[in-house]
């Protein structure tokens, strides 16, 4: 058990942090929701009922989609874009998908390479992009969930204001949908851009997200 926790510290710590934050969001969101319900002449709802409301679902989904978009774009962008001096970037000479030899696929696979890296054909092609496929797929799924839950929450608000509800197509073209999406995207892009630049000049001793402390600022593709 102790060894398992040591070997999986990152996933366990962030998994628990995720659950803790989600519970916190649910508690705070419930209080906020009921406050708005009373102000709008509606009925306060019990905590467990709140968890099934579109208001809670859209708030969760809009954050999920932006996080998965962030990592999907970062993984994809770092194939083609570099940041000289950043440990998040590869060397400018290696822009692109790189050679089969460097990527250890097909006949360059080693005995311990994953089977699909060795198989060739469509399986290697899919496995070579599997991280982006899953991240991109989860982004699209979360964004779809945001649009559906957002539509329900938006239309409930419309009806409480004595206004007609809208269709899904109208909602995904609405200011509410894009405001929810873009306010999350801008913060993700800011954070990831800052990380790429800050990591050129700043260090965190012992973190693989940083270069070793004594590494020159212009050294790229090295983590410590």
């Amino acid at each position: 058990m102790k060894r398992f926790l040591r070997d999986n510290g990152l996933s366990v710590a962030f998994g628990l942090s995720f659950l803790g934050a989600l519970v916190g969001q649910a508690i705070a969101g419930h209080a906020d929701f009921n406050h708005r319900q009373v102000l709008g002449g509606g009925q306060p709802v019990p905590f467990w009922n709140f968890l099934t409301t579109s208001d809670f679902a859209v708030d969760v989904a809009e954050n999920w989609q932006s996080e998965y978009l962030q990592f999907f774009l970062y993984i994809l962008a770092t194939v083609w874009l570099v940041q000289r001096g950043s440990p998040e970037s590869k060397h400018p000479d290696e822009i692109g998908h790189e050679s089969d030899e460097k990527q250890r696929v097909g006949r360059h696979a080693t005995a311990r390479s994953p089977n699909w890296a060795r198989a060739g054909g469509w399986r290697t092609a899919v496995f070579s992009r599997s991280l982006c496929i899953v991240m991109g797929g989860l982004f699209l799924l979360s964004w779809l969930a945001q649009s559906i839950a957002g539509l329900s929450a938006f239309n409930a608000e419309q009806l409480s204001q004595l206004t007609d509800p809208v269709s899904w197509a109208q909602y995904v073209a609405s200011a509410d949908f894009w405001n929810r999406s873009l306010q999350n995207w801008q913060s993700e892009f800011l954070a990831i851009g800052s990380m790429a630049v800050f990591s050129v000049y700043l260090r965190q001793r012992g973190s693989p997200e940083s270069k070793p402390v004594g590494t020159p600022h212009d050294t790229t593709e090295q983590s410590g």
């Binding site: 989860l138 329900s152 419309q158 004595l162």
Partner: protein, 130 residues
Amino acid sequence: MLIYRLGVVAVLIILCVGCGTGQRETDSAAVATDFLAAMGDGDTRVACALLATDTRESLEYSGGGPCTSSLGSVDIAGGAVEGVEVWGDRAQARASTGTLFLVELNVGWRVAAAGCTRATDGTYDCLLGA
């Protein structure tokens, strides 16, 4: 593994957002129908019982008397409900004589606004509950 679980949760969110709207549409339409029938019959006692708390209190305040007498001076005709749309704890019922807006409270669906006609800017002007 965590990624797959998150994916499953996202799918469940998608599937569950529209859960159970059929029964709620039927219930809200029934209340709208009963309200319009009561107004058509001049039975303000039944109609008042079907109003949302805020709407009834607002009517009594502006009418300067109990709901049953104040509602009698509001010109809302009876009529058949032709369609209803439910979103969250709110519903809109379209009738031949105007549109109603309803809210779901502990006691069930109640009329929040009635005698509403659509204005050119997309909002509704209502005889009751505006």
